[in-house]
Amino acid sequence: MATPRPTRRQLLHWTGAGAVAGLAAPWLSGCAGAPESETSDDATGGGGGGGEFTVYWNAGHAYAAYDEVIAAFEEEHDVTVNMQKYQWPDLRTRLLSDFASGSAPDVVEEPGGWVQEFAISGDALSLQEYIDADGADMGFPDDWQPRTISRNSFEDQVYGIQLHLTCTMLLYNRAMLDAAGVEVPATWDDFLDAAIRLTGDGVHGAALNQDAGYAWPWLLQNGVKYYDTDSGELLVPNDKAIEALQFQADLVHKHGAAPVPTPGTDYSGPQKLLSAGRAAMILTGPWDLGPIQETSPDLDLGIAPALTHETQATVQAGTSVFIPANAKNPDLSWDFIKRITTLDVERAATEEVGMLMPRLSWVEEPVVQQDERLAAFAQGFDYAIDTTEELRLTGKSGEVTELFKVLYQDVVMSNTPAEQAVETFLSEAGRVLEG
């Protein structure tokens, strides 16, 4: 890269602008020649002044608690907040198109993992200066769950602030376990034993998710790391990974204690089976509490801590907010982030929809402590792990995750021996990491 080479972005501008100028030069040349990203910076330097402030948000997270924050923000800065609500894949498509064209929204909510990815690619803004200035006042990082800082950092700079925090736990139908005289399982052996004993008469002891992400509690409990930074190896140690995957496949194919998961794009299968009394135990996060409550208010739902095998562990999840590098007015964006992550807002959102939050002081709130379900999930934060954190720093997380999906489905749906499938995965993914 010694010779100056036009960036793709510039090329796009030239082709786009050139094409337009060629055909309709007289009346369009004015706007065609002006890439918006470079001119807009100074225009909105100060306070906003009646402009528009664009936020990309998940369509499922449009809480009334946030509407109040937004109204106050609009009032204070004299701007109109344009909340663009999307599903995650659509949000990503939209965002990558923005990045490719050089434009960007002011604040983005992301489902976990994008902050580091976009920090590496230079599309996310480092928040370190803001945190150095305001961190103490807002309680960052001291009041955030410790594991939410590193997953949003790159090269010792913070690029994103955790907004919601969740983890996967064991949900079970208490009445079914009691009727069968089964104790709440704490280890894999307990779980397998319980699942087999609970199976029968149209009921499965357990239900596994079609989504490969749900394989990770098992892998983590067996001490498996997705990516080992020192050795550059995947699924380390391999034999433990094979054991954990085979355990899940056996649950389905050998013991018949769980139905074969059906490929698809949604995560609600096990939840529905649990709600309907057709599965006794599932692994899931707090997002399924609402639908269970809605469809089966009478279900005697139990929430157990994550299982222990080699170790006790589970998957950490939840969304963060970040500011794109090309945001028009980062100061304004930062103020928005500060307002939407206060303890008061967290509490209001929890009261409204039961979402779990990343502040340490949130766990102590009465609304959490008096709700046994929330409290149960909050306990998992101590040992919940963001599985792809190290892998993301390689910049190849997307491709490797696609291959892992094939691995999981191959083992759990198609009953391919885990040893063989892992071997295929390692050779394919190894090539991706090298290339």
């Binding site: 344009n82 659509d90 434009s103 529905k272 809605e294």
Partner: protein, 275 residues
């Protein structure tokens, strides 16, 4: 239009058609049923065929939760505008490829068809940059202009214009008619069925288009129905009763357009131009 030869074949035809139609229609009726269920019924693991009491309120809820009226208007403007443009441009270009001889005809035709061979998302980012440079993002013209004509329509019209006897054109030329007049007065009346098909399918495609309106709009008020429907999904599950209700609404105009246009492409041969 030929009559079925004998009663046995006739009965077989009916049986076959009724079976096939049952397969095509019943799943859609199920969607209609879903749109009238409560949220709990749609989420139930023991699926419900018909709701205990029909929830007509689901349709009202669409309009309460989102500017659904805007979505409908936007979809009508965009799909309608594009369809009109296609009906004007596609037959003209198709006519040239069907009835004119000129150097590079086959090469240009392949080049034309080539435009259908890249997926939209490959075009998407360059188009997005172009629209952004024009300052057109989040406007109706950004949704309409990139789709003013397409190779599908031109190819369709070429195929339907090709069988028209050349003598018709010769005769008109001898009468001294201009090329545009020949096109408008001789060619177009002959291909009304194809025009009806073109209008119908263009409208259906554009009415259901998702990716480009997703990227080219940036305010909720500018969304079209398919993009707007994405609002009725939560992070981890679909609000099926609302999605189904929205899908039913999405159906209404396309079915109406079909009922309107089918008169042209399925009427009896005795009424058509070639007699």
């Amino acid at each position: 239009m030929r009559s079925a030869p004998n009663p046995l074949a006739r009965t077989a035809s009916y049986t076959f058609l009724i079976l096939v139609c049952a397969v095509t229609v019943v799943p859609l009726l199920y969607m209609g049923a879903l749109s009238l269920q409560t949220e709990a019924e749609t989420l139930a693991a023991n699926p419900v065929l018909w709701p205990e009491s029909p929830q007509w309120g689901n349709y009202a809820e669409l309009f309460e939760r989102a500017p659904f009226g805007n979505f409908i208007v936007n979809s009508l403007i965009v799909a309608g505008g594009i369809t009109l443009a296609h009906l004007v441009f596609d037959p003209l270009v198709g006519y040239v490829f069907a009835k004119f001889r000129f150097p590079l005809r086959n090469t240009l035709f392949i080049a034309l068809l080539a435009t259908m061979m890249i997926p939209l998302f490959v075009r998407m980012i360059p188009l997005y940059v172009m629209m952004s440079n024009l300052g057109w993002l989040d406007t109706h013209q950004a949704l309409i202009v990139p789709f003013l004509m397409d190779a599908f329509g031109i190819f369709l019209m070429r195929q339907f214009i090709q069988p028209i006897p050349d003598d018709l054109i010769h005769a008109a030329r001898i009468d001294g008619a201009s090329e545009l007049r020949i096109y408008a007065r001789v060619i177009l009346p002959q291909v009304k069925p194809a025009l009806a098909v073109l209008g119908l399918f263009t409208f259906v495609h554009q009415w259901n288009e998702f990716l480009w309106p997703l990227v080219a709009t940036s305010s909720e008020e500018m969304r079209t129905i398919p993009v707007g429907l994405a609002l009725f999904k939560q992070e981890y599950f679909t609000l099926w009763h609302l999605t189904a209700a929205g899908s039913v609404i999405l159906f209404v105009p396309t079915v109406l357009i079909f009922l309107f246009s089918q008169r042209y492409f399925v009427r009896g041969i005795t009424l058509s131009g070639l007699k």
